[in-house]
């Protein structure tokens, strides 16, 4: 099959120009509504439950979920489905444990909640470290991924791709703040859900709308595998000659069975904990809860988001399986070894170059939106937590806050582009796992303890956050993911691929012990007041 992937086709450019044009027009409109800090950080708290649900889905469904999981299913089969479920199960936990208290207690960032009744400066500094590390690793993974993907799809150079993404997303955040970012997320979520739905329907139409038929055809589809045969060496008795041969054979039933992804139970549970509870510590997700007017809208937005994201993860495997039959594993691997181009190639087979152009533009919009959300979260930690509360002791004027937030956006945006260029060609897949590990080990324990535990103290919060952050970074470095895969040492010093089960437990333990060893009567007294706000919303922003 001839593919126009990698060449900038007219349709791809047209869709790309339309999407960027519309989002920049919205940014222009939003810029005139972004004057106060409340508007810049929280869209004036005017976003509805449905809108925020879509925007949360937009923030969360990255190019890695769309192209990555479709590719994983296409190349590895059922293992891709196991991975997909892990990305969803954090949402109910977010609802049950922190969504409403988070909305009622905070103002612009999750650090507002942790610092609510504790000493502002130490807690803000620690929370900002946890928050910025999470956002930074997540951003590096997104930038490197976007450079590679855009290069594959449009054929422009990696550096230009990173610069274009950086420039467009900075325009959104800098001028339109949270209002523009929210609308970019909503547009992206609608486009992505529409695109994947059309792909799914087109795939199913090829198999008489019978998933069973699709699965059967997956097992029958051909793929090239390398087979090693051994034969006695005629010239050298007793020895054997190995010959490697490439043969075509059916994919087989294995594609529909669990494979190598889940083997060790402890490893699997540890990764599961990071994916599930890491969501409860992702600053760019938590920040979205301040854009809605009250806890009720926060609750609704989680239900909508869970519905959209769940639907997405249920249908995306059909796209992946469809690609292994209709495109074939050989061609997918030839274009990109990781399988990331499975969905765009499938779009080309099913709808020709125009549909490929549409899907490529949707993937591009997906990248832009996720990076914009991350940049806003990173900038908020710098400006709201560090500048306003640590440097200015909470005494910054409205005008000052907005100016500093915009400067922080520029700083974070430029850093994102530079890091994207620095990490070109590096294996950064582990950085998403690292971001989730830090989120669930540094940010989540202190957030939960500050909401539910009266005796939680400043020392407990600071030690819990710092321990969680540095322990998860350290353990990932000496784990198989970095120590063996990147540094090429033969064996890892720490056995688990994701450290969450250890680092999160230690972080909770340190938070509790350090709290018990110190005492803050003011914080305990404030806990009672806090309850009115947590549960009834009295005094909430």
């Amino acid at each position: 099959m001839q593919t126009s992937l990698g060449t900038p086709t007219a349709s791809a450019i047209a869709f790309f120009v339309v999407i960027v044009g519309i989002t920049l027009a919205i940014t222009y409109w939003a810029a005139r509504r972004t004057r106060s800090a409340k508007e810049f950080y929280a869209a004036g708290r005017s976003v509805s439950g449905l809108q925020n649900g879509l925007a949360l889905a937009g923030d969360y469904m990255s190019a890695a979920s769309f192209l990555g999981i479709a590719g994983l299913v296409a190349m590895k089969g059922y293992d891709g489905m196991i991975y997909a479920t892990g990305w969803l199960v954090g949402w109910p936990a977010l609802m049950f444990l922190i969504a409403e208290p988070l909305r009622n207690l905070g103002k612009y960032t999750f650090a507002d909640v942790v610092a609510f009744r504790l000493s502002q400066r130490p807690v803000r500094i620690a929370s900002a470290i946890g928050g910025i590390l999470t956002v930074l690793f997540y951003t590096i993974a997104q930038m490197v991924g976007s450079g590679n993907l855009i290069k594959l799809m449009f054929g422009i150079s990696y550096e230009w791709a990173v610069v274009i993404v950086g420039a467009v997303m900075m325009a959104y955040v800098l001028f339109g703040g949270m209002i523009a970012t929210t609308w970019v997320q909503i547009i992206k979520a609608v486009l992505l859900l529409t695109g994947v739905t059309i792909l799914t329907i087109m795939v199913l139409a090829k198999f008489n709308f019978s998933p069973g038929e699709l699965y059967k055809q997956v097992t029958l589809a051909q793929q090239t595998v390398e087979v090693t045969t051994q034969a006695p060496d005629p010239a050298n008795p007793g020895a054997t000659i190995e010959t490697k041969q490439k043969v075509q054979q059916p994919i087989g039933q294995g594609a529909l069975e669990p494979g190598g992804l889940v083997t060790s139970p402890v490893d699997a549970v540890s990764l599961g904990l990071a994916l599930m509870l890491g969501l409860l510590g992702l600053p760019h997700i938590l920040m979205r809860f301040y854009t809605v007017p009250d806890a009720k809208a926060a609750r609704k937005s989680v239900l909508y988001a869970t519905g959209f994201i769940g639907y997405f993860y249920i249908i995306i495997p059909i796209v992946g399986f469809g690609a292994s039959v209709l495109v074939g594993r050989d061609l997918i691997a030839k274009i990109d070894k990781g399988g990331n181009m499975a969905a765009p190639l499938l779009a080309e087979v099913l709808g020709g170059t125009p549909f490929l152009g549409f899907i490529a533009a949707v993937a591009f919009a997906t990248i832009l939106a996720v990076v914009a959300g991350l940049t806003l979260a990173g900038a908020s930690a710098l400006s709201h937590d560090i500048y306003t509360h640590v440097v200015k002791h909470g005494q910054a004027t409205e005008q000052e806050q907005v100016t500093v937030a915009r400067r922080a956006t520029v700083v974070f945006g430029i850093a994102a582009v530079l890091l994207g260029v620095v990490f070109k060609g590096q294996n950064v897949a582990f950085m998403v796992g690292l971001a989730f590990a830090i989120a669930c080990s540094a940010n989540f324990p202190s957030l939960l303890l500050s909401i539910i535990w009266k005796r939680f103290t400043t020392a407990g919060a600071v030690w819990s956050i710092l321990t969680g952050a540095f322990l998860s970074v350290f353990l990932i470095v000496i784990s198989p993911t970095v120590w063996v895969d990147i540094f090429k040492y033969p064996t890892a010093l720490f056995g688990l691929k994701n450290p969450a089960i250890v680092s999160m437990t230690v972080s909770f333990a340190v938070g509790i012990l350090a709290s018990l060893a110190s005492r803050e009567e003011r914080a305990e007294a404030m806990f009672e007041d806090e309850k009115l706000r947590t549960y009834l919303g009295i005094g909430a922003e």
Binding site: A84, T85, Y215, Q253, G310, K531, L532, G537
Partner: protein, 100 residues
């Protein structure tokens, strides 16, 4: 603190509401843990079971994986349904008491 606010915090109604909220949250969180980690551990410990054919080629693992996602959403919906009716009504009553 304002007298009525303090009374409210000490009232049986408020304490009951907070207890009910966390009881439901913890029960649903446990259900979610059993659902998801049950699924993962089932795969880790008994792959052949998940590979059981239930159609011409379809394996048991496929509907089970979809069910994990659907049930997760249903658990979220259960919480929201409770909160929108029972919880919000109680909250409205208690808030009125502080105002009056």
């Amino acid at each position: 603190m304002h007298k009525s606010a303090h009374d409210l915090l000490e009232s049986a109604d408020f304490k009951n509401l907070v207890r009910k909220r966390w009881t439901l949250s913890i029960v649903l969180t446990l259900a979610l843990f059993v659902l998801y980690y049950g699924y993962i551990l089932l795969i880790a410990l008994d792959k052949p079971y998940m590979a059981t054919k239930i159609g011409e080629a379809t394996t048991l693992g496929i509907p089970v994986g979809v069910a994990v996602i659907v049930v997760s959403w249903v658990l979220t919906a259960v919480y929201v349904a409770w909160a929108n009716t029972s919880y919000d009504r109680e909250v409205a009553k208690l808030r009125d008491r502080v105002k009056s």
